[in-house]
Symmetry: C2
Subunit: 199 residues, 2 copies
DNA sequence: GACTATACGGAATCTGGATTCCGCTTGTCA
DNA sequence: TGACAAGCGGAATCCAGATTCCGTATAGTC
């Protein structure tokens, strides 16, 4: 969540109070959007941060930009978890499924994240999969390993991951038993299916 | 989709033109909401129906009421399909999964339906499950039969159905490969799981 | 301590829709 | 066919929020 001036970039460094405020805003936004989701209003964020709306807007040009920043940040954390699983874990299935469970928990704790993932999984995933964050390829690797180990059916594709997470986004927001959803899907990944998946 | 006056109810029958207009509105709304989803504007509906906005509002007090009416109508059709499957089909698994596939297709063809199911599965399902429409109990019966036949794992519960349909609602709107989602989930239903589902 | 570029606060403004209102039409019924 | 209630059209109104603006405050600099 670096900001112009926070780091040692070229643009003249931000004023100390601006840096402080930006941090307060980000933190307030994180809390507000996690709890209330996208319906959170810019004024809510401002109030939580003890700042005027104008200040929020100086740091983030639009509500969407603010949300995007929060999402990117979250996805980076997930990517980090994926990286860790990739090196630490021994059992391929454990590693693969653990990251998915972690992702689910992120959605559970962050209403806005769930809404965005359920609504625009494509862009969310791409952003996280392409840039520095290698989420896409890491998950693909975890999947491949699990498949090679025979833990996941061979016709599952990397694309299926954002797909089930998208469904989860909707489930998490409405159903008490999102864990059953996860279990069901993960079991679907393992099932020695009667027929291979379509497409 | 009966309306006061359309049937032989007590309230003084609607004027002929009103009946005609209501039909045009419902049809226009069905088309518009199916295509564009909830973002459809009341004016859009009015235009499609060759009617003024005011007329739309005389028939449906709010946008939400209009949407609700369309959804209820859809759910009744699904309930009807469930009823048919319940009596016609021989193979329990076929019957059960067929209705789910049909439900998926409804969501695929009706953007608003998918949005509502993904967003408020509880109320949508309840409405359809309680009232005249016995969707809930019919699906439960189809599920039970499939379980007795050994086609579906015993720890799947009736509640899991709206849950996966909720996830599907999100998937259908964003992912090209919703069929893979369905396959995966249905396979999850059949899987002889390593562990029983939580809860 | 004075000066100025940055930041700040938050009232005022703008917008996209939903919903309302009311003068004008048109069925319906005697 | 005339009276009038039921309906109609669509401009005007409302509203919730996002976004802008500008007078004021303050960190950074000499």
């Amino acid at each position: 969540m670096s900001a112009p001036g926070t780091d040692t970039g070229e643009p003249r460094a931000m004023r100390a109070d601006a840096v402080r405020n930006r941090a307060k805003i980000v933190e307030a936004a994180r809390a507000a959007f996690s709890e209330r989701g996208l319906e959170t209003q810019m004024e809510d964020v401002a109030k939580r941060a003890n700042v005027g709306v104008g200040t929020v807007y100086r740091h983030f040009p639009t509500k969407d930009a603010l949300v995007q920043a929060l999402i990117v940040d979250k996805m980076e954390r997930v990517a980090e978890e994926a990286r860790r699983a990739l090196e630490e874990e021994s059992d391929p299935w454990e590693a693969f499924s653990r990251v998915l469970w972690l992702g689910a928990e992120h959605q559970l704790r962050d209403r806005a994240l769930a809404q965005v993932v359920a609504t625009q999984p494509q862009s969310t995933w791409r952003n996280a999969a392409e840039k520095e964050t290698e989420l896409g390829s890491r998950m693909a690797e975890l999947l491949t390993r699990a498949q090679k180990a025979g833990a996941v059916r061979p016709d599952v594709r990397p694309d299926d991951i954002p797909m089930v997470m998208c469904g989860l986004g909707a489930v998490v927001q409405n159903e008490r038993s999102w864990e059953r959803y996860m279990r069901l899907v993960l079991d679907g990944f393992r099932a020695d299916a009667s027929e291979p998946l379509p497409d």
